[in-house]
Symmetry: C2
Subunit: 804 residues, 2 copies
Amino acid sequence: MIKKKSPKTAKKATFKPVKKKVSDLFIPIKDRTTVGKPEIRVDARAKVTGDAKYTNDLCPRDAYCAKVLFSTIANGEVIKMDIEEALKVEDVVAIYTCFDVPDHEWPSAGHPFSLDPSHKDPSDRKILNKRVRIYGDDIAVVVAKNEVACDRALRLIKVEYNEFTALTNPHQAMEKDATVLHPNIAKTNAFAHTTFKKKPDFDYEKEKQIAIKKYSEENLVEVVKQYKTPHISHCHIELANSYAYIAADGKITVVSSTQIPHICRRIVADALQIGVGKVRIIKPYLGGGFGNKQDVLYEPLVAWLTTKLNGHCVYLELPRENNISGTRTRHAMEGNFKSLATKDGTLLARDVQIFSDNGGYAGHGHSIAAKCSGIVNNLYRDRQGSQVDTYSVYTNTATAAAMRAYGIPQACWFAESNVDDICHKANLDPLKFRYDNCADDTLLSGGVGFYTYGLKECMKTGAKAIGWGKKRKEYANQSGNIRHGIGMGIFIYQTAVWPISMEQDGAMLILNQDGSANLLLGATEIGQGGDTVFTQMAADACGFTFDQIHIVSTQDTDYSPFGTGAYGSRQTYVAGRAAKRAGIEFKRVILEYACKLLKRKSISGLDIVKNKIIDKKTKKKLMSVADVAIQSYYNKGDAGALAVRVQEETESNSYASGAVFVDVTVDMAFGKIKVDKLVACHDSGILINPALAKAQVQGGISMSLGFGLSEEILYDEKTAKPLNNNLLDYKIPTAMDSIDSEIHFIQLEDPSAPYGNKALGEPPAILPSVAIRNAILNATGVAFDQAPMTPQRLVEGFKASGLI
Amino acid sequence: MIKKKSPKTAKKATFKPVKKKVSDLFIPIKDRTTVGKPEIRVDARAKVTGDAKYTNDLCPRDAYCAKVLFSTIANGEVIKMDIEEALKVEDVVAIYTCFDVPDHEWPSAGHPFSLDPSHKDPSDRKILNKRVRIYGDDIAVVVAKNEVACDRALRLIKVEYNEFTALTNPHQAMEKDATVLHPNIAKTNAFAHTTFKKKPDFDYEKEKQIAIKKYSEENLVEVVKQYKTPHISHCHIELANSYAYIAADGKITVVSSTQIPHICRRIVADALQIGVGKVRIIKPYLGGGFGNKQDVLYEPLVAWLTTKLNGHCVYLELPRENNISGTRTRHAMEGNFKSLATKDGTLLARDVQIFSDNGGYAGHGHSIAAKCSGIVNNLYRDRQGSQVDTYSVYTNTATAAAMRAYGIPQACWFAESNVDDICHKANLDPLKFRYDNCADDTLLSGGVGFYTYGLKECMKTGAKAIGWGKKRKEYANQSGNIRHGIGMGIFIYQTAVWPISMEQDGAMLILNQDGSANLLLGATEIGQGGDTVFTQMAADACGFTFDQIHIVSTQDTDYSPFGTGAYGSRQTYVAGRAAKRAGIEFKRVILEYACKLLKRKSISGLDIVKNKIIDKKTKKKLMSVADVAIQSYYNKGDAGALAVRVQEETESNSYASGAVFVDVTVDMAFGKIKVDKLVACHDSGILINPALAKAQVQGGISMSLGFGLSEEILYDEKTAKPLNNNLLDYKIPTAMDSIDSEIHFIQLEDPSAPYGNKALGEPPAILPSVAIRNAILNATGVAFDQAPMTPQRLVEGFKASGLI
């Protein structure tokens, strides 16, 4: 069910944190022909039939195959490598080891790049690493004519290591005698630490004494607790894969399953220490990324290999095992909370330390832990203040970086568990507590605020849909093995990454002779439906119908407009602005040409509606865009095929928000959770395509179910060897586990966005897990503080509580 | 040898035929860093090593193979076709006949398209033709998984024809009872007729009487003669080939070895009766075209086939036999001359009828014959006027259309033979006669004139180099079997096709982060070196060095700027203008951005020289373009990757001209001609790249040697079956036949051109043949009026003249 009208309690936020640099974009669109409609995905047919070509499909038939030799220790150094026997294997073309690669370290993070040296991503890895920091680090590569030869050769390479103690968690890594993994980056493994405070002189213990004086101790409730989340894997269907060759034009050309082709180009150039202009990246269709393909990991390797092999094409596909534990993961985090509230439901103060396990490499550095702690801090109004200290720590577990919702699933696991723990202890209604204490429309954090505010309306809508009050009563006194509970959670989420990073995207529209137009963007389709919504946005802006815009899905750095790619739920907000701007400019150039043909003095009386040039006053059709198009191409003496190319910087950001409610059945004996009902309510501004928006939410719910109930990368505690890095032992939800959810949208038009839209790509993955956790608490009184809540952990927990 | 300085007698033409609409382009370029230099081709390495990918290289491994069934009659109708047995062949996927294709006729000519209905190309063929008009017409197509299956099936198709008398020449085709081949196009086979007159009331016989009165008969010389040229083949190395598939985006995508990707897109859309926006054409590297790939012949077929085969990729490569006689050829023409001059060397009047054998289909319609007759008319100043009547006639021989120099080799074969015949008869010096009677700088024809005039300087330079006077004397009285002779010819040639057709091209420049730039054009590299000279032109216009411009060679209608392609020697003049304009605009946007960084008020004091921003006054370097580039990408708050996209219409045209001199040895008994020396002098304006210019002239000379001495498609006179459509029996010059020529350029800066340049691609193929013909006349007194002058014809001619 999709709610379209703005309800009464949802309101336009009073706070305006940023200047509206692009206010000329906000022309009233009276006749939206396609934005807001559930258009069928432009790639639906191709993806269903198999016509959509992915990186592997495009790889030339004579490409060499490359396979990486992965380290069998997690912490140490390669001393020696013997490749003699391996080189003798038939069809092996070449073997390169960590001793052969350029002595140059580069960053893998898919960030736009910064001119500020203090804001640069840590350069902490080489194309192959002699200094091993994860189990399965890249230490050599075999290139052969086929996979079998690669595998045979890999088995024959002999490696000698100097091994150090594996560091499996941040606390161990922060010990004094722990090996410092990246001495070039930081003197200790805790390579970054930030403190967020609601007021500069905040001190929890001092505030607690003040509170005791003011309210007296018996009217206060304090919760001191630790919450934990694990490393989890993105598990995109298409494995990390790419191939490279030197093209006829001399460019090192990399075709890659990447979310960020333009950033990938810069990083490959950096890793190879050549000019960006000598690198070309092509991004075909992509079978899922979820943030893992926002790091540039193996593109530099294949690019370097082709330079060693006379430009011959080299293809590399990472095995699933290494996709799980050797690429990037969601950060395992630990949140240590002290929280103080009044027993009648006013949150007073919180003191939080977060330890983020970054694994062996920096990935996105401290930015994810920082974003996590920012939301922990801002999600609630602590009346006496709060403090969140966050440490990003190198360990020898899997490297963590971007994953859908970028630290906020952890933030909400912490903050939303904590709120329910407070309410449980003080016997308060968690809905009311949230309503009274959550971030309101005055929130401003780092220059980002609410332009429109729908969080409380989301709570109200969700509570009504789940039957909050009624169910709370119904489930108040239960006994027996099978119990029911309801739970909830709320989130706030920044759309895009400004002002932390530069936000920019480009778009191009080319008028074809038949009156249709080609649309090109730097923004990438990665399965989320980007191509479809960009088509809608551009079409509406220029007055074309949806079918008359032909989007070019492939990004190719030879010609695609610059854009930084798919991450941070930014594209509809940032690239959408470029698409809209291009549409507006495109309409202008078409009308200017039509103006001459119609012998009018100015375009002010003209408009384009559904591919027709009309008189604004009479609404009469004067000519078709196709008529204009053919003239613009062939009208001798005034010919000039029409096209526009725009590049838009976005200097605003806006909070999206939402609430999720669940009704669950807990089978305590079996540690089994059944979600009977899930209601997701999102304040994501205006929906460009309600069908795709709903699909995003459904997908996010599935991911969060895995996060809450089953997913976790396990390590051997001594060696840091991953124990379950395969899809048999690592449990992601299957189609059988997916649940039928009720989805509501609170559609308020965000004035900072091209079509009133806000973040939607990532937020759906935030809350379901913690809402279930809180529902289990509601059902059983047992608080599970560590995700995932596997049957094992549940049974142990219920046993410890004496319930079974 | 390349002459760089403008000699004294070469002069700036006084006549200015067209307005200079684009005068803002003519900024003084003081520091040409690359234009005018013999830069190495940008594709040199790729083409030598084999890295350059051609259509066939790119075809997917699972593409179906398509082969055409060619008719075994030249004139008639297919009544019935039996494909039953053929369909049974293993691996055959489908067979379509002329009875299956859409009942829609379309034009194949690679013209830009015209909005004027009277100027449209004749639509006279279907995807497969039931009405057969050449021997080898396309009547059915077999699609199979491999070539062998195709061939087997082709042999099993049974065809029943209704056969008509084959028409092997224009006169036969113009007879009253001849079958009219295209009744929809014209009522007779002579489908077009034009008359050019120097004065409206010109009548040759009347003028002759006037001349007799004025000069008296004994002071006049009249030549009445017929000259003939044959059908010849382009013989490009890469056969006509293309493949098509329906891509993920639903577009019918054709990868083709075409000179004209954007025109090809329009014609495929026309043939399939779909919108242009639903067709995508990709043009990779191309192995020669010479005009043959300026017709769109088999792209509609593969495009249609993929629509029948569920979007599966279908590849078609035409056999060499059908490339020679089934695609396009140079028009066989016949020129019937009556010419009158005074015996002291003044040309008085000419009356000419030209019959152009267009073969079975229109191809480029009447435009080539018309262009031929225009040059016959304009090459000389007939003091009492002239008349050239030209007929384009359908026959059942190979279809004729564009071939390098588009009718002018025939024009000059006629006019230049005729001039030497006049001189021979009146004992005049052909050099002086030409000097006194040739077109001067006042010539204006159809809006095209000389902006700069170097024709007479070409004659002087060439005469000096060949030793004209000395050799004429030396060869005056010879006897015996082996004789020597010198001969010459002159030409004038219109650069580009304006105002007959619209002239338009686009260019795009994208600044990369390292300060280099990508250059994209609609103009195509077809082997001539276009990519290199466009790189030079754009580089100079924006102040970049040659190596900092990365041209994108492939044209792809999804994103490439619109341009009509490679033909008419137009690209350096028309697309060059777009490249230069883009460079100028690009410089402006870079300087505007630099201006902000440098905190200057305006860009007027700034310039870009060799990739550096300099102060115009002090000439000091202020920053590099790379500095600007990185800021433009990542300067938060003012970020916007820089790029420009321009579309330029060209509304001017300019005559190029030149002269060729040869010194030959004639072995009369063996009918053998040895070219001892060839001097080619070209007035092509400023050379963008002298090395490539020289290579163009050398290539043209080889082609003209074939035209003059050996090449000719022969037909069975009864059936019009081609007799020598293979490279054993059809004789093109080989590397062994190439001659070492002396090449001079008269470099006058044409003010209508982007860098003072004029046509050079085609003109070198015009004169060597007729210069040799005139040298044989000089050596032996025997005039050979029919090309090619094969040993057979030479021996017969010398025998008839009693010389052997």
